[in-house]
């Protein structure tokens, strides 16, 4: 079923959305978060509901300004691996057989 609708302003320029909103909420299973509105050639308004999809924050880490600057500095001037890392690498060479 189409989710867009065409509404026509009355003589005073008002549009009624009550029944449309109820229908669309049932259809979408939730209230839309917004509408795209387009004026049609005959002066009516075409409404298309939008539902905001939460960005997949689970796969993005968003850094504060201070952390951003630390990270960029670290990328620019990468430090040498420390002793513990070098030792673990030597241990990996001894302990891991061919994969």
């Amino acid at each position: 079923m189409a989710t867009e609708t065409i509404v026509r302003p009355d003589a005073k320029g008002r549009v009624g959305l009550g029944s449309y909103l109820r229908r669309i909420a049932t259809q979408l299973g939730r209230m839309p978060s917004g509408f795209a509105a387009e004026l049609t050639s005959d002066g009516a308004i075409m409404l298309r509901p939008r539902v905001e999809v939460a960005a997949d924050e689970a796969s993005t880490l968003v850094l504060s300004v201070a952390d951003r600057d630390r990270l960029l500095a670290a990328i620019d001037g990468a430090v040498a691996p420390n002793q513990a890392l070098l030792q673990a690498k030597a241990q990996h060479e001894v302990m891991v057989g061919p994969a």
Binding site: L63, A74, A78, P81, A84
Partner: protein, 168 residues
């Protein structure tokens, strides 16, 4: 003892794995296979060479990205690609009966090596780890991972450091 490290397969006994973290045990037993099938994560397991069904330790890798709350033009101009392509070491655990033998460190190196190799084909700029608690964060700090000030359980290592580690 010598370990082999391989991609999680149907041979390994996932249900018997017992680290000190119930969450990481349960993820391996119930979700790891699906996560790998759906290409959300790659899971690697360490077994003693003569016991391929035994999982002594495991880690999982996933693609991630790092974005900034604020990215002034000056910053975005300098960055070849934004958000930053990131390789995430999401989980790492060692079975209790194998702890304290250096396997945790070996798994960490193995993960960094795979990230390093992958980055030669599909570049990434940062290696990131998720520590599940303070003790896990301390484990990673020991190896030079730096915690973010506002996200202390997220620790990073610049790929430049990883490259130096494997340069020879």
């Amino acid at each position: 003892m010598i370990w082999t490290i391989r991609r999680l397969d149907g041979v390994a006994d996932r249900a018997s794995f017992q680290s000190t973290s119930n969450e990481l045990n349960s993820w391996l037993a119930k979700q790891a296979n699906q996560a790998q099938k759906k290409r959300l994560a790659s899971v690697f397991i360490a077994s003693p060479v003569d016991q391929p069904t035994c999982i002594a330790g495991y880690y999982s890798l996933a693609p991630w990205q790092i974005a900034f709350e604020q990215a002034p033009v000056k910053v975005t101009k300098r960055l070849p690609r934004y958000p930053l392509a990131t390789a995430l070491l999401a989980r790492l655990a060692v079975d209790q009966s194998f702890q304290g033998q250096g396997l945790g460190g070996v798994l960490l190196i193995d993960a960094l090596k795979r990230i390093h190799l992958a980055a030669q084909s599909v570049p990434v700029q940062v290696a990131l780890v998720h520590a599940k608690d303070d003790a896990a964060a301390a484990f990673y700090r020991r190896y030079g991972f730096e915690p973010f000030a506002d996200e202390p359980l997220h620790l990073f290592m610049a790929m430049g450091t990883v490259e130096q580690l494997f340069a020879d």
